[in-house]
């Protein structure tokens, strides 16, 4: 992570769309009136959903909506790396996990593909449709290497599948998220290896439960004499 600054080029203004505003109101209502600013993170998310990134006029608009000082919203927006302070690719924002398990399983090769197809890290591609970033652990280590593209996880990637996914996005398709190794979530590749006995599933191994564990009444403590 490097120093997070607002983008040099900023739009002249920002306005909440009707849908964003409705959702924002819903979030604000969750908190007592005097604690409106508690909704700052959800609303930053909503703004990012609407615009793709968080601009400086948007930060001011959020501050005014929540009755906060501008600097307080800026603090939150710069603290969390999930808030994009610069415009990102409208078609796909590719966040490749580069933390140890993914790195060991070939994240560097994925990034090489991204670099070839899109351009340098953290920058909009020449056509303005793609951005790729290296991020820290996204918590899908059992499916390493992986990348988050827009809102979904693409797992068990290889340089080839990564290239294919980028091409599909470029062609206007929406590639299917999930594992690209032909397995269900993080189940073993090539099917299950344990719990194969069919009796486990036909009910024949089941026994009636006589007593739930820890269900004995607590022993009554004797009052001291």
């Amino acid at each position: 992570m490097s120093v997070r600054r607002l983008a040099k080029e900023q739009p002249a203004s920002f306005a909440f769309s009707k849908a964003t505003m409705e959702k924002a109101e819903w979030w604000i209502k969750k908190y007592p009136e005097s604690r409106r600013q508690s909704a700052v993170i959800p609303i930053l998310w909503l703004v990012q959903k609407q615009e793709g990134w968080v601009s400086e006029p948007a930060i001011r608009a959020i501050a005014e909506l929540l009755d906060m000082a501008f600097i307080r919203v800026l603090e939150v927006a710069t603290f969390y790396t999930m808030f994009m302070l610069e415009p990102v690719g409208k078609t796909a924002l590719i966040q490749v996990c580069g933390t140890t398990p993914c790195m060991l399983r070939g994240a560097n090769e994925l990034m090489k593909v991204c670099k070839e197809k899109i351009g340098p890290k953290d920058h909009l591609s020449a056509d303005g449709r793609f951005t790729w970033q290296e991020v820290e652990c996204l918590g899908a280590c059992s499916n390493a290497p992986m990348a988050q593209i827009n809102d979904y996880y693409y797992e068990d990637l290889t340089p080839e599948t990564m290239a294919q996914i980028i091409d599909d996005f470029a062609a206007g398709k929406s590639p299917k998220p999930g594992s690209y190794a032909g397995r269900h979530t993080s189940a073993p590749t090539g099917g299950a290896k344990t719990l194969l006995d069919p009796k486990l599933y036909d009910g024949s191994a089941a026994k009636p439960i006589k007593k739930l564990p820890n269900s004995d009444p607590a022993p009554v403590e004797k009052a001291p004499a």
Binding site: S2, V3, F70, I71, R72, L74, T78
Partner: protein, 681 residues
């Protein structure tokens, strides 16, 4: 009371105290950077680590840990020593070694504590981080590479000053202190963050590279930039006052100081009057003291007693006013006035012009009605106190007058005397309901034609709503001039049949007009022979016929009485400039030349006379207990009319001759008028 053991010594403490406070009570010094008694607890510097039993087997941050009964606290174990060394080493990893060119060098918490608690050398060979400098306005110079992220500045500006402009952006090793898009900090208390900064990240911009702290000699004195009489320490080198820092006085300024009081010092060396001048054939020429005093004496002797008058200025010490008053009374003149703002105060009991609750006492009030004054402009530290009690809760505030941003919420009742004449029910309810209601009135409401009627109406309201009772006196006059209360206390008002300031300034009213440091009135309308005694070539000196160079507030020992009626002694820091003399001595010399020699030859004799005539001046540093008085008899019944109350201090940074001579004040003033233009710098 619960008891804890600090290094084996049993120490009693009050419930709710932190381990750090208990250790301090036991006499153990705990190093700290982020912790500050008057700010919220952050607990992020980790310098205050101690060992606590019972507790986890690791050091604990004592500033954020509540002390418990029977707790054992250790501040000198090997674990604590090692922990402090570790924290210190981490803090120094990214701190530059630029102490020799750092303004904080010599009075730096980080320097001192690394000497006291740190390792002897560094094991860090990698590159240090560098942080870009930030613009924070004309008072704050930033060197953000030196910042250790204690966030004292963020907390002060947000909590005490009430202007949430400073924040910490990003996180981890990239965290930076900044303002939103580097706008200037819009607080009148911004200079305090430079004091609070434990390192050299935020330093005083107006004084940057002007001095090293060990070159300075220190004199404890009193500030005169507003009527609070803040306690200050003026540091000087040679004949120049280099800086002004606050001293702790819980009753007045706590440990803060307004930007004006602090950064006005460069005005003490600019536009000074350093020799007497006489106007001859329409042109001023340099003169000797003898010539100048003889010229004044000749005019005073030639004029008849009712054709001479004197106006005393806002920064005058009590002694020079007393000497002047004695001289003019001896000459038979009734035309003496110290109220340049024209407020109709000074008659009846002393409580009628004092801030009776006291500055500390205003925190006890549970309802405050502010009339015709903008405390943020006229008394920033009082405003900070009001904010403090507003944050604590339990006080409701209402305002009649300017609808300004006071950094706290208030009910706005109206703009002027019309509102006062037909007071909304909300206002009377507010005061009636309250147990300890208070009214704060400023000269914005008391000046001018309707002033007496306004004072009377407020007095009646105070009486009716229980603002003044036998046990509570909540009737407060907030002055804006340091000299005012002393002037009123000694009766520096027109004698029976005498002329007021406004009347004296009318053309043809007087033959000789003596301006004793009076710069806030425009004397050009008067065609009298004008004598100006003062320190700066300002409005009063402009067009004067004789100019007598006097001493500024740092150049004379003098008594000042603050708005609470607390008498304080200011000390001489440096000598008057050039041939200038102390004001009282000039008056004394003049008195001999008009054959009315004043009966005192030394300042001590003058003070004895002052205290003999007016015993209140004898109670130095003493705040009188609240006294009940007949508040309804104040002022005079009359038509309230329809005046809009506007603060007499239109621009606090240009409100006296010293401030007008100061380049820093000019910069702050420009920022006040056009904040956008400066922020784009």
């Amino acid at each position: 009371m619960p008891v804890a053991k600090v290094n084996g010594v049993e120490t009693e403490f009050e419930p709710g105290m932190t381990v750090l406070q208990v250790a301090e009570r036991a006499g153990q010094e705990i190093p700290r950077f982020c912790y500050h008694e008057r700010l919220s607890i952050a607990g992020n510097c980790r310098m205050c680590l101690v060992e606590v039993k019972p507790g986890p087997p690791k050091p604990q941050a004592s500033c954020a840990l509540p002390a418990a009964d029977g707790q054992e606290i250790f501040t000198d174990t090997p674990m604590v020593k090692k922990a402090r060394e570790g924290v210190m080493e981490f803090l120094l990893i990214n701190h530059p070694l630029d102490c020799p060119i750092c303004d904080q060098g010599g009075e730096c918490d980080l320097q001192d504590q690394s000497m006291g608690y740190g390792r002897d050398g560094s094991r860090y060979a990698e590159n240090k981080r560098a942080v870009e400098e930030k613009h924070m306005g004309p008072t704050i110079k930033t060197f953000m590479t030196r910042c250790i992220q204690c966030t004292r500045c963020v907390r002060f500006i947000t909590e005490v000053a009430g202007v949430p402009d400073i924040g910490m952006i990003s996180r981890g090793e990239d965290a930076e202190i900044t303002t939103y898009l580097e706008k200037s900090v819009a607080s009148e208390l911004s200079g305090n963050v430079n004091d609070l900064c434990p390192v050299g990240a935020l330093t005083h911009r107006p004084w940057q590279y002007h001095y090293r702290p060990w070159e300075l000699k220190k004199t404890e004195t009193i500030d005169v930039m507003d009527a609070l009489g803040s306690n200050i320490r003026a540091d000087y080198r040679g004949s120049e006052v280099m800086r002004v820092l606050p001293r702790v006085n819980e009753g007045i300024n706590e440990e803060w100081l307004s930007d004006k009081s602090r950064y006005v010092v460069d005005g003490l060396t600019a536009r000074r009057l350093d020799r007497p001048w006489i106007r001859e054939n329409g042109k001023l020429r340099a003169a000797t003291w003898n010539e100048a005093l003889d010229a004044v004496a000749a005019k005073l002797k030639a004029a008849s007693a009712d054709r001479i008058g004197v106006i005393a200025g806002d920064l005058q010490d009590a002694e020079s006013m007393k000497a002047t008053l004695d001289l003019f009374r001896a000459l038979g003149s009734k035309n003496t006035d110290s109220r340049q703002d024209g407020a109709v105060l000074g008659y009846g009991p002393r409580e009628g012009w004092l801030f009776n609750t006291g500055l500390e006492g205003i925190e006890k009030a549970d309802a405050v009605l502010i009339v015709g004054v903008n405390p943020r402009v006229e008394a920033p530290l009082l405003n900070a106190r009001l904010r403090k009690s507003w944050i604590k809760g339990g006080v409701e505030i209402a305002v009649i007058g300017e609808q300004a941003d006071l950094t706290f919420d208030y009910a706005y009742l109206g703009a002027g005397s019309k509102t006062l004449a037909k007071l909304p029910k909300a206002a009377t309810d507010l005061l009636n309901k309250a147990e300890r209601p208070a009214i704060i009135v400023g000269s914005g409401a008391l000046a001018g034609e309707g002033g007496a009627a306004v004072l009377n109406a407020l007095g009646a309201l105070a009486k009716k709503t229980g603002v003044v009772t036998d046990s509570w006196n909540g009737f407060n006059v907030l002055h804006h001039a340091a000299a005012r209360v002393a002037g009123l206390d000694m009766g520096f008002v027109p004698a029976e049949g005498g002329l007021t300031v406004a009347e004296m300034l009318k053309p043809g009213a007087l033959d000789v007009l003596f301006l004793l440091g009076a710069d806030e009135v425009d004397p050009t309308g008067s065609n009298a022979f004008r004598v100006y005694l003062g320190s700066h070539g300002d409005r009063g000196a402009h067009g004067a016929d004789v100019i007598l160079p006097g001493a500024a507030y740092t150049e004379k020992s003098g008594i000042y009485v603050n708005t609470e009626g607390r008498v304080q002694l200011a000390e001489r820091v440096v000598f008057p400039k050039g041939e200038a003399k102390e004001d009282w001595a000039i008056i004394r010399a003049l008195s001999a030349r008009v054959d009315q020699t004043l009966p005192y030859d030394t300042l001590e004799q003058l003070r004895a006379k002052l205290m003999g005539d007016h015993p209140t001046f004898g109670r130095i540093d003493y705040l009188p207990a609240p006294v009940s008085f007949d508040v309804a008899s104040l002022g005079a019944k009359g038509d309230l009319g329809d005046t809009v109350f506007t603060s007499v201090v239109t621009d606090p940074y240009l409100s006296n001759p010293i401030a007008r001579a100061s380049a820093t004040m000019a910069e702050l003033s420009a920022l006040r008028i056009a904040p956008v233009a400066m922020a784009a710098e």
